[in-house]
């Protein structure tokens, strides 16, 4: 059975701190690993990673994938209160061999709270 495990489950930091969120996975037919940010409503897409060792960066957020050790980390530097959210990790795999459907298996998320 596919598994995506995120740690820590929750994290409380102060503005300006740097945080690292972890995601490990066991998935058959791995295609990519994705990070989403969820603030009360729908998850919004942050990054997709397909290759080991290549960092994806967007502003203060960055992420890297290790396909040998089957994990990814999401770093947030100089955190702000607006970074408070649940961060979800998901792994993509094909649902059927002959079709185009693709499944995302999600972890339970890390609840990040940034205090002023």
């Amino acid at each position: 059975e596919d598994k995506v495990v995120q740690s820590p489950l929750s994290l409380v930091v102060h503005e300006g701190d740097t945080v690292t969120l972890n995601c490990s996975y066991e998935v058959t037919n791995f295609r990519s690993l994705l990070w989403y940010k969820q603030e009360k409503k729908a998850p919004t897409f942050l990054f997709m990673l397909t290759s080991s060792g290549i960092e994806k960066k967007s502003g203060r957020l960055s992420s890297i994938l290790d396909k040998k050790e089957l994990f990814s980390i999401l770093n947030i530097t100089a955190t702000q209160t607006g970074d408070s959210a649940v961060y979800l990790c998901a792994v993509a795999r094909d649902l059927i061999s002959s079709g185009s459907a693709r499944q995302l298996t999600f972890g339970s998320g890390t609840q990040l709270t940034v205090l002023p």
Binding site: R31, A42, P43, F45, A90, L95, S100, A101, R102, L104
Partner: protein, 112 residues
């Protein structure tokens, strides 16, 4: 640009009542469509996916069903709701060749 709509935003229904949640996507054609449920403090559980009109697959056996009567419309239904159906229901779309899915605003369902 593409947008995805869901309605209603919130719903309170008694046990045993029927359910119909609707999702529509604009700005793309032949998307893959997905229904997820998120219980409080949990990750997203895939319920149904569709690769085309009238092509629905179920991932979790339950008293819910899904239909796709038009290319960009996806409907989640139930004939009789259970208490355990409460949760946050999210519709998502994906275009061919890409892995990322984009989510609608969600429907928060409370079954009383």
């Amino acid at each position: 640009s593409q947008t995805i709509h869901q309605w209603p935003a919130t719903l309170v229904q008694p046990v045993g009542s029927p359910l119909s949640l609707e999702c529509t996507v604009e700005g793309t054609s032949n998307p893959n469509l997905y229904w997820y449920r998120q219980a409080a403090g949990r990750g997203l559980q895939l319920l149904f996916y569709s690769i085309g009109i009238d092509q629905i697959s179920s991932e979790v056996p339950q008293n819910l069903s899904a239909s796709r009567p038009q290319d960009r419309q996806f409907i989640l239904s139930s004939k009789k709701l259970l208490l355990s159906d409460s949760g946050f229901y999210l519709c998502a779309w994906r275009s061919g060749g890409r892995d990322e899915q984009y989510f609608g605003p969600g429907t928060r369902l409370t079954v009383t």
